[in-house]
Structures are given as C-alpha cells and as structure tokens.
C-alpha cells in the first residue's frame, strides 16, 4: 500500500509537470486541502477546483513548468518529497508581466493520504529565489514585505 502512495505522489507531481488535469480526480481527494507559505500567491487550495485553478494558472504563466522529484519516502499513509521546479515565465503570473526568465525553485512537501487519494499537502518553497528570478521591482517587493 505504501509503495502505491509513492506512485500516487509521483503522479501528483506529473500533473503539475504536464498539465494533465484529467488526472486530478485520480490523485486528489474531493476534500483535499493544500497549504503553501503565507506569502505565496495562493496560500491555500481546496478540493479539485483549487488544484485545477493552481495547475492552470501556473502552466499558463510557465508553460514548460516541470517538477523534478529529487527525494521521495514514506511512512504508512504519509509521503515526503523534495522537488526542484523549473519553468520559463512567458505569460502574466499574478500581477507580474512576463519576463522570459527561467525560474528554478526548490520545494519541500509532506502529503497525507486516505483511501488512495491525497487529502493534505504541506508545501514550503524558496519564495525569495522565485522573486529574484522574476526580477520583481521595488514596489512589488514592498507589497510582499507589507503583506
């Protein structure tokens, strides 16, 4: 069962890497909740719709977005992954106009799995690397710092 959980999390990263949103219902529970840093564009995502919105928004801004799994392990119904995400910023991302820059972001995640689906995702990522790679200006930084 736990080996299946590893495959499930690989599939989850595959969705974000390919935009195959038809796989969302296979991987995520309807009751799914995802938590990102408070400073992230969307700090929480709920249900299939939340994931769908996230994948589409990210892959619109970064069409070649790819999450490479560099570490993956489990204990019973829990999985941890470390990933390195890359993508080229070719369309607007939130308020940020496209820069054409390549971003590389390290992420650390834990997942809880129930009845073969991911019910919770806790993710921290290198937000400062993202802001630097997207060459954000002082007014954007000011807004982030005062959030």
């Amino acid at each position: 069962m736990s080996h299946r959980n590893l495959e499930l999390v690989k599939k989850l990263h595959h969705i974000w890497s390919t935009g195959k949103t038809d796989l969302i219902a296979d991987v995520y529970s309807r009751d799914f909740v995802g938590y990102w840093p408070k400073s992230a564009l969307v700090p929480e995502r709920h249900g299939h719709e939340g994931v769908m919105f996230g994948v589409q928004a990210l892959r619109t801004a970064f069409p070649d977005w790819k999450e490479t799994v560099v570490d993956l392990f489990y204990e019973e119904n829990k999985v941890a992954s470390r990933t390195i995400a890359t993508g080229t910023h070719t369309e607007k991302f939130g308020e940020l106009e496209p820069t054409g820059n390549l971003v590389e972001i390290h992420e650390a995640s834990t997942f809880k799995i129930f009845e073969g689906k991911v019910v919770e995702h806790q993710c921290l990522f290198d937000e400062l690397a993202r802001l630097n790679a997207l060459n954000v200006d002082k007014s954007y930084l000011r807004k982030i710092l005062k959030k």
Binding site: E104, A108, L124, D126, L141, I144, L145
Partner: protein, 166 residues
Amino acid sequence: MAKLYANPAELIRNYIECRNQNDVHEMRGFFAPKMVVHFPPSAPVTHYRSADEFTQSIIDFRVAFCDWHEELLELWGSEDKVVCRVVESGIQHGEYMGIAGTGKRVEFLSTTVFRVNTQQIFEQWYMYDAVSILQQLDVNEDYVERKLFPDRFSGGNAMEAKRHEP
C-alpha cells in the same frame, strides 16, 4: 560515542528537544563529523559542510535569538530519512543577517528532511518561509535587494554561482 535511538525519528525528536534547550555540546553529538546541511539557494549561506561549521552557525544564530523555540507539527520517517515540520519562533535580540537587534518576535514554518540512522545525522535539507521572517522583522525592499539579490548590483548572477558551489 553517539547514543543509539530506537529509530531515526526518535533521534530527531531528541535532537529538536536539545535545540530547544540550547545544549550545544549535546547537539554536537547528533552530527556526523562530515555532515552536510543544505539551505535553499536564496539563503545567504547555502551549505554547511561539517559538524563544526554547522554547530558554529547555531551558536551564532542563538546570539541573535537567545530564546529560540521549535514546536513540532509533524515528525516521521523511513529507515534512513526523517521529515519534520516545525513552527520556529524567537525574539531578535542581536544582529541577524545584517539587521541590528529589533526586539521583534518572529514565528515561521520550516520543513527539514534528514538523512540519518539511529545514531547520527549525516545530511539535512532545510526549507523555511524566509519571506515571513523579513515581513516580521519589518525590513524594506532596499534591504532585500542589497542583501538577498546581490546579483542585481554586481552584474553577475550570484544565485547561479551559489547553485554550482562544489
């Protein structure tokens, strides 16, 4: 001689307790001599390459944040890997990353993956909500550009250079 714990997660639980007590000597006993610690690429220091280096960084950090505390949210592991998520908090009394003591309390989330056995930590990958720290210390955009995005001023790409450190 390193202590033997029932499993790797138990070792990390004891290590966190030790960090909370700021017992540097005891803490040093958890580290394999040639341990490697990875911080995110945007951090001012991205790697520590020995137990001595990392222990010194903890000593320095605790000068700035003498009441540091880590509250466990999640801790579990496999045979050779452990993940722990904590809420870290403390009051900044001394200089930290070029910021003079502010007296402000910071609280933020971190996740660490450890490569470990039942006696020692060999490697760890640390990820934290760095933006949240900057928000709580009330730094401004000039500080972030100067201190954390130095390549904008040097003309080179410091982030890229750090990524390819040996």
